[in-house]
Structure formats: structure tokens, C-alpha cells
């Protein structure tokens, strides 16, 4: 037992030793700021990276980063309530919580005195994130610049397998219904692919990743990704309209039901998790689906690397009677951003630092790198990358840990599809036509040639002029946050739950039963009082109007 006492005694001595070590910081001669960034980031050395060192040298500032790891809402709520603030906080979509707690200082005067570059990159759009009290409290993650927008990728759409496109010789049917008929025809001609049963369609319907099925009615009736409502240009205004019990919902799930009755809708998808979804897609036996590109990008790259025809091309398809205006306009992220806290030791210095980040040279350095090393400039002033540079910047490990700009991509940045003031170069290399071309694989070129276009986005633009830049005043409606603890937010969750229950039933309805199930669904929706549901849509409408107003009105 003596041993035990000795052990406890040692422990009692050791504990304070661990506790005492807090707060020691090497003096570097640099100005230091603590920033909490509500994003999840992998660790890499902040000192010793190309971009990090350059920035430190230019500004004399070192940032002590803290990134989010767990539940951000909890963390931000805690920071807000605690009153212990780092110098700057980026609470992401919980910025309002922080604001309500009075944790952020108004930046108006600081912008006037220390922020000429910020004023230049944001221009009039600065009004979009001015709050009702007349103050500006944060700088958004990303804002468009100027009126030009250029991107080679549509981002989302109806993804159809290249093999199917080959089979029909690169068709662009007028309606989604026609495409579905083609899928069915192809599936009947090829009942299995690599030994697996062919499915015409699938869709992830799991946790928050459920949007491929959940939002299909609005997207496939030809809308960009507003998700919560369909937003149309009606009588000179952006008008929000609930779609969940409307014709487009009825029709899209009936179309899916048609594939199901042919045995071609992948019903397993209703019980799949994300990993299984990716595994399924990588099997190559799924002909088409709706999704956003980042959700299955890893599989797409995997299949492209395998050099098969089983990867997918996004097509601008909408149900009959709708224009396929699907491409998302650039999205001014006005509802969230980085704040300077009331406990910042040196707000002026921090604002100077932010202002430096908004310099054109800094923006260029952050996205393109060093001229002559990471990119070249041709005689016309166009930036381009050599194949070696393209390959170097494809290596994510290198980009993250050696170049090291990753910690600075979540605030004070311009949309990659926007152009520098020179009007010819994209803010980000990935959207620059020459860099896009240089990175294409032969099979992708084959598809582009099949459609007679230069970029994948052009397939969309040839069908319908898009993206509609006017939408940039409010887009996207899904970032509208319902007021905390409000009846509108509860109504939204309730509607969602009813839809979640009925959508699989509708898609899997036995022959002749679809209308009965639809009527059940509508009846259940109607149990939520009309006035509550209207209030939900009306709130979204008010918020859209407010955003448009802030952006300069209609």
C-alpha cells in the first residue's frame, strides 16, 4: 500500500506542473493576433510555408489560429456567452449569435481610416452586408467582384454517364422526360454493367446530405440552388414560392416513380449512407442522378483516372415546360464573415492586416502564387500555367503544407469566377480558361467536342443564358436563417419531416397508387395550418427583398 501512496503523492505533484504551463509565448518581434476560425482545417506549420512567410514578412503580423473541431453552434454560443473573445472571430453561419451578444465592434470608422483596399474590392456591394443599424460588423468569406463572371463548370445539374452520351451520340434532349426515356432504353439494352445491375437513377437521401432527392423539385424545374424555395422573376421582383406540395414536386417524383416501375430506380439509395453512396457510384452501374459536384468529386476523379466511360457529365435538363436555368450565380456571402471582437487589443492593426489581405497583389499571391514560378504571363497580359505548374498545384499536400495559403481562404476573398480589374484574368486559376484547358483529360475533351463547346458550363449556357447575374443580389435563399426560437423555423422543420417521410413512398409507389399517396401527403401537409406555412414563405420573401434592397434595390 505504500506504493499506492507514493503514486498518489507523485500524481499530486505532477498535476500542477501540467497546469502551470499555459500562456507562454515566444517573443517574435511580430505583432500577434488570435483568430478563431469556424472552419475545420488540417494542421500545417504556419511558419515555413511560402505564402505564410511572405505574408508575415510583408505585414509583420503573426496569427495564432484556432479552428473549429466539434459542433460549431455550441462553440460559438459558448464564445458569445462567455465574454472571452479572441481578437477576431469568424463564426460562419452563426455570425448573428455573436452579433446579438454584442461581441463584435462596428467597423465603419476603421474601414474609412484603414481600409482603402477593402473599399475597393467590395465597392458598392459593401452595402449588402451593412446591418439594419447602419453598421458593418464583418467581412464575408467570399464576394463577387465586378459584373463579369466566368466559370468552366456548371457545378450541378443532371449528371449523365459518358457511356450513355456516347451511345446516343451526345444528345441534348429538350426535356428531362426525354432523357429518362433514353436512360430506360440504354438500361434495357445494357441490363448489367461489369456484372452489376444497371440503374437509371439514384439519389443520396441521408442526413443533411439528402438534397439530391430533397431539392429535386426546385432544381429540375429549372432553378439554381435556392433549395428552400423556388425563386422566380415575377413582375419585376424576385418572388419566393414554396414547391413542396406543388406541381413540380408531384411531377418529378412521378417521373422517378416511372423509373422505379421499370425496376430502374435504385431503391437501395433510401437506406444508403454517404460511404455506400460513393461506393455505389464508383461501381459504374448508375446511369444518371442529380447532385452537386463536390459531393461526389472524389468518385468522379477516381473514374476519370481509371480512364473508363463511366463518369458523368452535367446536362441542363428540366422537366417539360420549364427553362433549365440551373447554374448558380456567384454568391455574395453577406450573412456571415469575420468580425473584430470587442476585446481586440489592437483593432486598428487588425484592420490594417485585413486591408493588406484585400490588396490585389495579395489576392493574386494567394490564388495564383508567384509570377514566373507558379504562373506565367503572356504577351497579352493573360495568366497561364505550364503543364508542370498545373501538376504542381494539383498536389493537395504541396498546396496545403508547402504553399500554405489554406488558412486564409475563408475571409476577405473574391469569387474565383470574378475577374481582376484588368478584365481578362480570373481571380482563381481553376476558372481561368487556359488553366482549365490545360488540366483536361482526353475523355473530357472528347465530350466537349461531342457537344461542340469549350467548357462544360457552355453546354448550359447554349441552352439558356445563365447564370442570371441579377440573382446575385439575393442568392442563395438557403443561407437565409430563420430567426432563432421562432414559429417559422419550427414550421420549416415540420414540413421537412413530412416530406422526408413521403418522398420514398412516392418514388416507390406501386402501379396506380401514386396519386393516392400524393393525396395522403398533401393531406398531412395541410394539417400544418396554411397561415403558418405562408408565414414561413413570407419570411423568406421578406429576407430576399431585404437583401435585394441592400444590394441597391430592383
Amino acid at each position: 500500500m505504500k506504493k499506492l501512496f507514493v503514486l498518489i503523492f507523485i500524481v499530486a505533484l505532477v498535476v500542477p506542473a501540467f497546469a502551470g504551463g499555459a500562456g507562454q509565448r515566444a517573443t517574435t518581434g511580430l505583432r500577434e493576433y488570435d483568430i478563431f476560425l469556424g472552419y475545420e482545417k488540417a494542421d500545417y506549420p504556419t511558419g515555413g510555408t511560402i505564402f505564410g512567410d511572405w505574408l508575415e514578412e510583408q505585414t509583420g503580423v503573426r496569427i495564432n489560429w484556432e479552428f473549429n473541431v466539434g459542433d460549431l453552434q455550441q462553440k460559438v454560443g459558448l464564445i458569445a456567452a462567455s465574454g472571452d473573445y479572441p481578437d477576431a472571430i469568424h463564426p460562419r453561419n452563426y455570425t448573428q449569435i455573436l452579433l446579438a451578444a454584442g461581441a463584435a465592434i462596428p467597423l465603419n470608422n476603421l474601414i474609412e481610416s484603414h481600409g482603402p483596399n477593402l473599399k475597393e474590392i467590395y465597392g458598392d456591394r459593401m452595402e449588402m452586408f451593412r446591418q439594419p443599424d447602419g453598421n458593418i460588423y464583418w467581412f464575408p468569406q467570399v464576394m463577387p467582384y465586378g459584373d463579369e463572371y466566368r466559370t468552366p463548370n456548371p457545378g450541378h445539374g443532371v449528371w449523365v454517364q459518358k457511356a450513355v452520351l456516347d451511345y446516343f451520340d451526345y444528345p441534348l434532349p429538350n426535356t428531362l422526360e426525354e432523357m429518362v426515356d433514353m436512360l430506360i432504353e440504354y438500361a434495357k439494352a445494357h441490363p448489367t454493367i461489369d456484372g452489376n445491375k444497371t440503374y437509371a437513377w439514384t439519389g443520396l437521401f441521408w442526413t443533411w446530405r439528402e438534397f439530391p432527392v430533397f431539392n429535386a423539385p426546385t432544381i429540375l424545374s429549372g432553378h439554381p440552388n435556392d433549395a428552400a424555395v423556388s425563386v422566380d422573376w415575377v413582375d419585376g421582383r424576385w418572388k419566393a414560392r414554396a414547391f413542396y406540395d406543388q406541381e413540380e414536386s408531384y411531377r418529378i417524383y412521378k417521373l422517378y416513380n416511372k423509373m422505379h416501375l421499370e425496376g430502374l430506380y435504385d431503391t437501395e439509395s433510401f437506406v444508403m449512407d454517404y460511404d455506400q453512396y460513393l461506393a455505389k457510384l464508383s461501381g459504374g452501374n448508375i446511369l444518371a442522378f442529380y447532385d452537386q459536384d463536390w459531393q461526389f468529386g472524389t468518385v468522379q476523379n477516381l473514374l476519370l483516372d481509371q480512364n473508363q466511360d463511366r463518369w458523368w457529365v452535367a446536362l441542363p435538363l428540366a422537366m417539360e415546360g420549364y427553362d433549365p436555368e440551373i447554374m448558380n450565380p456567384p454568391q455574395p456571402q453577406v450573412s456571415e464573415g469575420i468580425t473584430i471582437s470587442t476585446q481586440a487589443r489592437d483593432p486598428e492593426g487588425l484592420m490594417e492586416y485585413f486591408n493588406f489581405l484585400a490588396k490585389w497583389d495579395t489576392l493574386k499571391m494567394r490564388s495564383w502564387g508567384r509570377e514566373g514560378i507558379d504562373y506565367m504571363v503572356d504577351a497579352n497580359g493573360l495568366f497561364y500555367r505550364t503543364p508542370e505548374q498545373v501538376a504542381q498545384w494539383r498536389d493537395q499536400d504541396w498546396v496545403r503544407t508547402t504553399y500554405g495559403a489554406d488558412y486564409w481562404v475563408n475571409f476577405i476573398r473574391l469569387d474565383g469566377g470574378s475577374l481582376f480589374p484588368d478584365g481578362i484574368n480570373n481571380i482563381e486559376p481553376a476558372t481561368q480558361p487556359s488553366v482549365f484547358q490545360a488540366a483536361l483529360r482526353p475523355q473530357q475533351i472528347e465530350v466537349l467536342e461531342g457537344y461542340g463547346v469549350d467548357t462544360f458550363a457552355q453546354i448550359f449556357q447554349d441552352r439558356h443564358p445563365q447564370p442570371d447575374m441579377r440573382r446575385s443580389t439575393y442568392f442563395p435563399a438557403w443561407t437565409i436563417t430563420m430567426p432563432p426560437d421562432s414559429p417559422e423555423s419550427i414550421t420549416g422543420t415540420r414540413i421537412g419531416d413530412i416530406r422526408r417521410r413521403y418522398i420514398p413512398q412516392l418514388i416507390m409507389a406501386p402501379r396506380g397508387q401514386y396519386d393516392r399517396i400524393w393525396n395522403e401527403f398533401v393531406a398531412e401537409i395541410n394539417q400544418i395550418p396554411q397561415r403558418d406555412r405562408d408565414a414561413h414563405t413570407a419570411f423568406l420573401q421578406r429576407e430576399i427583398d431585404r437583401r435585394v434592397e441592400a444590394a441597391g434595390g430592383y
Binding site: 455573436l98 451578444a101 437521401f205 437501395e268 437506406v271 426560437d485 421562432s486 419550427i490 422543420t493 420514398p504
Partner: protein
């Protein structure tokens, strides 16, 4: 411990408070001072650390907004509780929670004891140690990983369907995870799989306190294996079993969170949504902090009522109790 002894202790418990008044406090302090020194500092610690934060319960009677002090909030009386009890979803969620928690309690306890007994009955020591070590490995696998395995095993091309179709027991592959009538049982069995080995440890520890002479005596009497288990092993672990049972009955409002959240899908959501998920989705995610607090108080009250009930029943039956 034999039955007579525990009956005696129960009676003794019942008498204690009545006799207290007649005792002389100075004698008590003299006799029990060391016991007090050994327990009261920890009691104070507990009151500070565990009861201290309970002042946050005032939130349930407010419309709490973060960033203001607890006393600078709008007071709404019992509104949050009324909202909770008026919600039809709440009752469905309550049903699911109690059902799944009960299934998990019964199956989890049964298999933990079964595993402990079988390990205890094994004489081959390397085999015994190996089984014991391996059976507790799933404890280290997070539900995120475990849920994915469950989904794969029960998927249309999973091993369960392979076997049933291969053996000709079924014509077609079944979407097991899409069956509302099976969801509770899938939760129960996956719980057993993940916790039986870990749960067995407590019972194994309890079995070490059984007097080996009892087994020897039983052997001399010619008792069979099952008789030995029934008459010696099970009574030996009964106190621990009863205590765990009472504590777990108090936990019936806790059916889990991640397990259901990760295994559920829209086809079964009427049967899968438990209280914790409900509080998250209709409370915290909508920033209804006060509503969530009211739900928390409700859960605590139910738990305490359940545990008092279970403890009373145990006492009546002359079993080990919490007090």
C-alpha cells in the same frame, strides 16, 4: 452474500432513520468523524461541480437568448413545457425512446451476463483471456464506423441477404434497414454486439468475490453445471445486477443518439427518432435553448421518478438498493 443477509440489510436500512434522533450527536461525531472526513469533502466537490450548473435550469422558464445574463431574459413561465406537451411528435418520440431503451436494457443485460458466465465457466485460460479481450473490442469502434458496418451487413448486397438467399430461405433480397417493424430490433442487436463484451467486465469482477468453496461444495453434492450457475454464480452477482438494473431503469429516457441518428433513414423515421434527436432537431438546431432546457428538465424528472420507483420495488423485494 446470501439472501438472508441482504434481507437483513434492507430491514436495517428501514430502521436507521428512526433511531437517528435518539442518538447523541457528539458520540456520532466521535465514532464517525473519520468517515465524515473521508466523504464530506467529496460531497462538497459534487455539490459544486454537478449541482452548481443546475442554476441554468432557469432557462427553461425563459425565452433565452445567448449573450445576455441569465437574469436579463424574458420570463415565460411554463410556456416551454406547455409547448413540449402539446407537440404530437413528442409522444411518438417518447414511445420510441422508451421502447428502444427497454430493448437495449433487457438484451444488453442478458447478453452481458451470459458472456460473463460463459467466460467464467471456461477453464482453458488462454482461450478465456482471448475471448474476453476480443469481445470487448467493439467498444473502441465509434458509432460512425460501426453504423457503416451495420448498414453494409444488412444492405441488399450484404452478408445477411447473401446467406438467406443463398440458403434458399428467401426469394428476393430485402431492404432490412427500410423496415419500420425491425428498426428497434436492429438497434437492440447492434447494441448487444457493441457492448456485451464490455458489459461483461463488471459481472466478471463481481464473480471474483464468490467463495470458491461454494463451488467445491456443490461439486461434492453432485450438482450439474447449470445448477452451479443457477445456485451459486447468479446469486453471487445478484447485488451488482440489481444495482445496474435500477440505475439503467433511471436511464430509460436515454435510448442513445448517434446509433439511431446514423442508422435511421426516412423510411423508418417514425420509429427511429428518439428524445435526444428530437431535442436537437426541434430545440438546439432552431436555437430554442429554453425549449431544450425544458425538455432536459422533463427528462431528469422522469428519470428520477423511474429510479425512485425501481428502488422502492427493489426494497420491497428485499434486494440490494441504492441507499
Amino acid at each position: 452474500m446470501n439472501p438472508t443477509e441482504s434481507t437483513f440489510s434492507a430491514q436495517h436500512d428501514a430502521l436507521a432513520p428512526a433511531t437517528l434522533g435518539r442518538r447523541n450527536w457528539s458520540t456520532i461525531f466521535r465514532n464517525q468523524g473519520v468517515l465524515m472526513l473521508m466523504s464530506i469533502p467529496f460531497l462538497v466537490h459534487l455539490l459544486v461541480f454537478r449541482y452548481g450548473p443546475i442554476f441554468g435550469w432557469v432557462m427553461a422558464f425563459q425565452r433565452y437568448r445567448p449573450g445576455r445574463g441569465f437574469m436579463d431574459q424574458e420570463w415565460v413561465g411554463l410556456l416551454q413545457f406547455q409547448t413540449l406537451f402539446a407537440d404530437a411528435t413528442f409522444y411518438r418520440v417518447l414511445r420510441n425512446t422508451l421502447a428502444m431503451a427497454s430493448i437495449k436494457l433487457v438484451m444488453g443485460t442478458f447478453f452481458a451476463i451470459l458472456v460473463a458466465i460463459l467466460i467464467n465457466e471456461t477453464r482453458n485460460r488462454p482461450f478465456k483471456r482471448t475471448v474476453q479481450t476480443i469481445s470487448y473490442l467493439p467498444h473502441f469502434i465509434s458509432w460512425v464506423v460501426a453504423a457503416n458496418l451495420v448498414l453494409e451487413v444488412l444492405g441488399p448486397r450484404g452478408v445477411v441477404n447473401d446467406m438467406l438467399v443463398g440458403l434458399g430461405l428467401m426469394q428476393e433480397r430485402v431492404l432490412w434497414m427500410g423496415r419500420p417493424d425491425l428498426f428497434w430490433w436492429i438497434i437492440g442487436w447492434s447494441h448487444v454486439w457493441k457492448t456485451a463484451g464490455f458489459g461483461a467486465i463488471i459481472y466478471l469482477a463481481a464473480m471474483t468475490s464468490i467463495d470458491p468453496q461454494l463451488y467445491e461444495a456443490a461439486d461434492i453434492d453432485g450438482a450439474g453445471r447449470l445448477q452451479r450457475i443457477w445456485h451459486i454464480t447468479l446469486p453471487g452477482i445478484k447485488p451488482v445486477f440489481v444495482i445496474l438494473l435500477i440505475l439503467n431503469i433511471g436511464q430509460l429516457m436515454e435510448a442513445g443518439f448517434e446509433q439511431q441518428y446514423l442508422l435511421q433513414n426516412s423510411l423508418v423515421m417514425d420509429y427511429s427518432e428518439v428524445f435526444t434527436i428530437y431535442v436537437l432537431r426541434y430545440g438546439l438546431q432552431l436555437q430554442r435553448y429554453s425549449f431544450a432546457a425544458a425538455a432536459g428538465i422533463f427528462r431528469s424528472v422522469v428519470s428520477i421518478v423511474l429510479i425512485i420507483g425501481a428502488n422502492t420495488v427493489a426494497k420491497r423485494l428485499g434486494q440490494e438498493t441504492l441507499m
